[in-house]
């Protein structure tokens, strides 16, 4: 099973542990990820904020390369990249005049063929939870986890066509297949503050604190994510939030692929768990997972 892989800038930088663990567990499930050759940045918030045509054309170049590689499926682990690629694909399919302009910019026919998915979506749709459960050798017993989807994995629904954007369950189902318990909580699909960590830090502190508080209230021992922005905001701003609110959360923010890797029997050192700021090691030790 060959799938075009779009890591994006974060997975080659601050979220390398997400890259490493995704490749590992996908490979373990027999999915062959082929990195899109010479890919460029999706432009993220910066491009869609300031120039719509640029935003679509940046993603279009990547989709065109995937098509040239004869791959019909593109998977992007970063929820931001996923959203940009999926939106571009939607625009190219539905907006003929924009598609024409983009074709001129990328000097190729509009790449409307490849389907775009996020890593949770692809696993659920192509593999299913039974295939995942079958690979578990070290179940995540007695772990109480908050599956956090944030905004862009499921929204907007007319573009993602995935899960229920109000009460998503796909990641919960994967974590349960690994043997963990997942909590019902109010903020699983609320925003963490997105791209404002540096430029309007107060927004991230405000929205991030609500997410942390909701997870704590339901007794979660860690928050599980599928997005480098969610991870970075909740992890690196946790100390600031704690200082501001006078509360101690000490909640590890772990990529779902890292937990899949552990349950599949990989070592913590193979999954980049040391790279998380709030250490997951005391929790993992207490559960006998490392």
């Amino acid at each position: 099973m060959n799938v075009a892989y779009f890591p994006g800038c974060s997975l080659h930088g601050l979220a390398r542990e997400y890259d490493i663990s995704t490749r590992l567990v996908y490979n373990h499930l027999g999915i062959n990820l082929k990195e899109i050759l010479d890919w460029n940045c999706c432009g993220a918030t910066a491009a869609h904020s300031l120039n719509h045509e640029l935003s679509v054309s940046l993603s279009a170049r990547n989709l065109a390369i995937a098509r040239d590689m004869q791959l019909s499926q593109v998977m992007a682990p970063c929820a931001g990249c996923y959203s940009r690629l999926k939106t571009a694909s939607y625009e190219l399919r539905n907006n003929k005049s924009l598609a024409g302009k983009v074709e001129n910019l990328i000097e190729a026919p509009a790449p409307v063929e490849p389907e775009v998915s996020n890593p949770v979506q692809y696993l659920i749709e192509a593999k299913g939870t039974e295939a995942i459960a079958a690979k578990v050798v070290k179940p995540l017993k007695n772990m109480k986890l908050a599956a956090y989807y944030g905004c862009l994995l499921t929204r907007p629904r007319h573009i993602t066509e995935f899960d229920d954007p109000e009460q998503p369950m796909s990641m919960d189902l994967i974590l349960r297949a690994l043997g963990a318990e997942t909590v019902d909580w109010s903020h699983k699909a609320e925003c963490c503050g997105g791209g404002y960590a540096a430029s309007e830090t107060a927004v991230v502190v405000d929205l991030g604190s609500q997410v942390l508080e909701s997870a704590r209230r339901e007794g979660a021992e860690a928050i599980v994510v599928a997005c480098p922005m969610c991870q970075t905001n909740l992890d690196t701003r946790q100390q600031t939030i704690e200082a501001e609110l006078g509360v101690k959360y000490n909640l590890p923010i772990i990529y779902f692929t890292q937990l899949m890797g552990l349950a599949f029997g990989y070592k913590a050192s193979q999954l980049g768990l040391k790279r998380l700021l709030v250490s997951p090691f005391p929790l993992l030790k207490s559960k006998g997972l490392i």
């Binding site: 907006n95 929204r155 309007e200």
Partner: protein, 195 residues
């Protein structure tokens, strides 16, 4: 006392519908389909700090009040979480409208209320323009330098560096000409006229 800013008289018989038509043409959003249920504003992640909630933005478009729309603060605090459009029964794509208005304000040279947000976006685009990707560490250093916040997040930055999360190296796109072509008509700065 009521703020006159928020309580302008709406002259219902003297409404300019050119902006409404422009939004339909450019964003493929028919503002007239809005039933004013307010779900967009009820769900909005940042409505509590917005000067104009999504519902008010729709009304401003109906009124053709472009001046307010291009200078409002919420253009720069919207987190693009897409809750508004996702819940809208009439499919009014507010995030697309916000992007459109921000792009228009930027091209017109209208000074943003949050200059750091604009600067961050510009630095990110500069990086993509130059090497096709985002050099995270270089960009953060430039951001702190340009905003005069030399020690902003120095402690978090140090922790991230030692965790290997900030790398001074960033691989370039090989076929850079292809990326440069996408940027040909993209302004470098606010107010810069497109080529």
């Amino acid at each position: 006392m009521l703020s006159t800013e928020f309580h302008k008289t709406i002259k219902l018989d003297n409404i300019d519908d050119s902006l409404k038509r422009e939004i339909l043409e450019e964003c493929d959003v028919d503002i007239e389909q809005c039933i004013e249920c307010g779900k967009c504003s009820g769900g909005c992640s940042n409505a509590h700090i917005f000067d104009y909630t999504p519902r008010k933005i729709v009304q401003l478009i109906k009124m053709g009040d472009e001046e307010t729309l291009l200078s409002m603060d919420c253009l720069w605090t919207c987190v693009s979480c897409h809750l508004c459009v996702d819940r809208c029964p009439a499919h009014i794509n507010i995030p697309r409208i916000m992007d459109y208005l921000r792009e228009k304000a930027y091209k017109r040279g209208i000074e943003p209320t949050r200059d750091k947000v604009e600067l961050f976006n510009e630095l990110m685009l500069d990086s993509v323009r130059k090497i096709g990707r985002v050099a995270e560490m270089t960009m953060m250093m430039k951001f702190n330098f340009k905003t005069g916040q030399y020690f902003k997040d120095a402690d978090i930055g140090r922790q991230m560096f030692f965790k290997g999360k900030l790398s001074p190296f960033s691989p370039k796109v090989k076929h850079l000409k292809q990326v440069h072509r996408l940027f040909e008509d993209v302004p470098h700065k606010r107010g810069e006229v497109e080529k």
